[in-house]
Amino acid sequence: MSAQHWIEPHPTGIYVRPADAWIDPSTPRDRALVTHGHADHARGGHGHVWATRETLAIMALRYGTASGTAVDYGEEMRIGGVTIRYVPAGHVLGSAQIVLDHAGERVVVTGDYKRRPDPTCTPFEPVPCDIFVTEATFGLPVFRHPDTGSEVDRLLGALHAHPDRCVLVGAYALGKAQRVITELRARGHRDPIYIHGALERMCALYQDFGVELGELRAATGVPAKEMRGHIVIAPPSALNDRWSRRLPDPITAMASGWMRVRQRARQKNVELPLVISDHADWDELTDTIAELAPTETWITHGREEALLHWCMTRQMRARALALVGREDEDEG
């Protein structure tokens, strides 16, 4: 593929030579194109960042102010002879795929994505291309996420079955927590939801961008009995931490695509595994590649071997990239 002379995968990110810019670099660079706000894609310390308004706000929250150019979905810009467009990836608020056109070729870098509906972000937009750079977090056929509504119903079922306890849901602070809250609201759950201190600023940011989260209350400094019969959301690291001892006999739940494998849930001492993911499952990954029919697929992080094999058996060109530092499992 001739595009290989202008776009180069490196362990520390994807380098776009004519633009002299890096996509999701894991080390500080002068010019960075960032797909979304998760820490394994958006690092601090870059010179200049191009990202969506939402992603820039998330990066500012996490790393302090950074100099950046806010890019709207669909807006075209030219950097060093490359035409660049950000289109929605459906992963978390502000997440984008980066579409690069140069020398008559098109490369799409998805960052992370999913295809199913998510009330907190704009849905994935498929863009036909020559080189499709995809994630593969759940790149094994055992990962098939069930319907989100039925998972949320299980959460509400456990809550209502134990009015003297609370359900503590482990959810990644950026994206998953807000998605779980909006999915609960969509199922008619109007009660206040208690949140861990580490989620407060990110939830406020989502609300500033117009995502309705309903009534949220700080879980810290509240008497345990007030939280009985309520849902408490905390980052996964807090589930088995001393922090959770303050809660009224919590049922420990976790919202993650990893929860599909029961030993994974057991390893994390989860009693109520909820298979709710912000990543494409196996069917979504393979359907997307089949739909876009790129000349070549590059597979970044996750279980790339299986997806690579799937492409090969269909006579589709594919290669696995070894990017460092990707895949924070809490994010699944």
Binding site: R144, P146, R260, R262, Q263, P273, E305, A306, W310, T313
Partner: protein, 532 residues
């Protein structure tokens, strides 16, 4: 099936014993007959569907998935039934990932009891289409036996007893007079008929267990010492007409050990250590030798055992205690009296299958400590201390029985290969092969360990393996030889199986030595000097 698969999921995820009991009790009260009877049979390991072999699962999935993707998935998930349950492709006309409610547990059992071995894969596949992932998992576990949901037969019976306000020992007494789906048991439990007659059925009694010794010493005029043998505790229950063997958890393991059960025709209940004949642990001066636990493991968990197995791994029981003699319950008697009666009982037994756990003759505790330290050569784990006046009581009671294990040896080794684990550690690289240096600076494997680390350390080790892989051989990853592991082990022996000529006993990871450069790890010759 949905209620049953949810019960199994609940049992897998619930940590507390009381939580598990509540789930079982709740199911037993609510589920219809005869579903709940079959569920109770499955939970207690009494449901035997002979036509379905694990190979049926393989056969069923082979035509339906890409074999490479299947192997990758299985390697990741770590369990055949779960892998198949998760990636099962539903037929076009079936609702996706939904249990359509068309299959009851009893319908499934009826179907599988009626099917031939050749027909099993098709029958299973047809049922798989109607279930969700949890239901498919439950079906496959049910069909092949061994639910592995972390509960013992005893716990299942306790949950059943709790559901109907019964005493579990009363349930235990009638249990072996009944068979699945236990209609008479449920009739009794719900007050529809009299208690079934348990006369003459050999039932399980809970074991007496030991605490680790924490005090610096005990007075040997109060405590008797025995060797701690490395097999499994077993209870032999004979009625004169029938003999059964029970494991520590109350599981009936008679089927795996017909050589033992067949050699016992007495009317008594005995407690002992199930071992395989051999020379690995102990010697004549310890009251007899025995093969390693590894040899015994070849015989465990089998529904049926071949004649060759019994010849290659001949089992015997080293007796510790006597609970009942005839109809007389002697558990309340002091240990000294029970021991005397056990010694008197022994001559009635087949000496090739039963011997007596020898007492260690030591005048004082310091001498005992020396004897225990010296037993490292004999590969004995440690010593048991039993209060001479202790009655035989269920569970661990303070100050009655102690186990006193030896301190381990340690060596600094370098990680060489890693493999994914199973069960709780599945999908993590948790099995490590490590090596030490030869004179010529070559690293040779000296052992393999898959325990000893904390969950946090496991996460770190897993990450190390993933980021340091230099080679892959199927499921095995070779890693950069940069990480030093402090390995603890009970003893080390000559071995022809390994190139290093060494074999460790009970190796486990004691510490991760990130601070230590790999060339400072131990040399083979240092380990060789530890051979006692």
């Amino acid at each position: 099936m949905r209620a049953f698969s949810q019960l199994l999921d609940g049992l897998v995820y619930t940590r507390s014993r009381n939580g598990k009991l509540d789930l079982i009790a709740d199911y037993m009260r609510r589920a219809p007959d005869p579903d709940r009877g079959w569920a109770l049979a499955a939970l207690t390991g009494n449901l035997d569907l002979k036509a379905v072999k694990a190979s049926a699962i393989g056969e069923m999935i082979r035509d339906r998935t890409d074999p490479v993707l299947f192997e990758m998935s299985r390697d990741y998930v770590g369990d055949l039934a779960e892998t198949v349950a998760l990636l099962w492709p539903k037929a076009e006309d079936q609702p996706p990932e939904i249990d359509d409610g068309s299959l009851t547990l009893s319908a499934i059992v009826d179907r599988l009891q009626g099917v031939s071995r050749a027909g099993a894969p098709a029958a299973l596949a047809q049922m798989m289409h109607h279930l969700d992932a949890s239901g498919r998992f439950a079906l496959l576990k049910l069909a092949t036996g061994g639910l592995r949901v972390g509960i013992s037969a005893r716990l299942a019976k306790t949950g059943f007893a709790q559901a109907f306000g019964l005493d579990v020992d009363d349930v235990e007494q009638v249990w072996h007079a009944l068979s699945p789906p236990y209609a008479a048991l449920f009739d009794w439990a719900e007050g529809r008929c009299e208690r079934p007659d348990p006369a003459g059925t050999p039932h399980f009694r809970p074991f007496m267990l030991a605490h680790p010794l924490e005090a610096d010493s005990v007075d040997l005029s109060d405590y008797a010492a025995e060797w701690k043998w490395d097999g499994i505790r077993v209870q032999i229950v004979g009625t004169g007409q029938e003999t059964r063997l029970y494991s520590r958890a109350g599981d009936d393991i008679t089927g795996s050990f017909p050589d033992i059960a067949g050699a016992f025709s007495g009317h008594a209940v005995l407690d002992g250590e199930l071992l395989v004949k051999g020379e690995f642990q102990g010697a004549k001066e310890h009251g007899g030798a025995a093969a390693s636990f590894n040899a015994l493991q070849q015989r465990l968990g089998r529904k049926a055992v071949s004649a060759k197995m019994m010849v290659d791994y001949p089992a015997f029981v080293r007796l510790y205690d006597l609970l009942l003699e005839g109809d007389e319950d002697v558990r309340a008697l002091p240990w000294t009296q029970r021991r005397a009666r056990l010694e008197a009982f022994l001559p009635t037994l087949d000496p090739t299958r039963f011997d007596l756990s020898a007492l260690i003759d030591a005048p004082d505790f310091d001498t005992l400590a020396d004897i225990r330290a010296g037993a490292r050569d004999a590969a004995i784990e440690g010593v048991m201390l039993k209060r001479r006046d202790s009655p035989y009581v269920a569970g661990r009671k303070a100050a009655l029985w102690y186990k006193w294990k030896r301190d381990p040896l340690t060596a600094d080794c370098v990680m060489m290969y890693a493999q994914r684990g199973h069960g709780k550690r599945s999908s993590f690289y948790s099995d490590y092969t490590f090596g030490c240096w030869t004179e010529d600076g070559e690293l040779l494997p000296v052992g393999k360990a898959y325990s000893g680390f904390t969950d946090e350390e496991l996460k770190w080790l897993d990450r190390f393996v993933r980021t340091s892989t230099v080679n892959r051989f199927g499921p095995v990853r070779e890693v950069e030889k940069t990480l030093v592991l402090e390995v603890a082990f009970d003893s080390i022996h000559d071995s022809k199986r390994h190139k290093s000529g060494l074999a460790m006993r009970f190796p486990r990871i004691a510490r991760i030595r990130r601070d230590k450069p790999p060339h400072e790890a131990d040399r083979i010759e240092t380990l060789r000097r530890m051979i006692a």
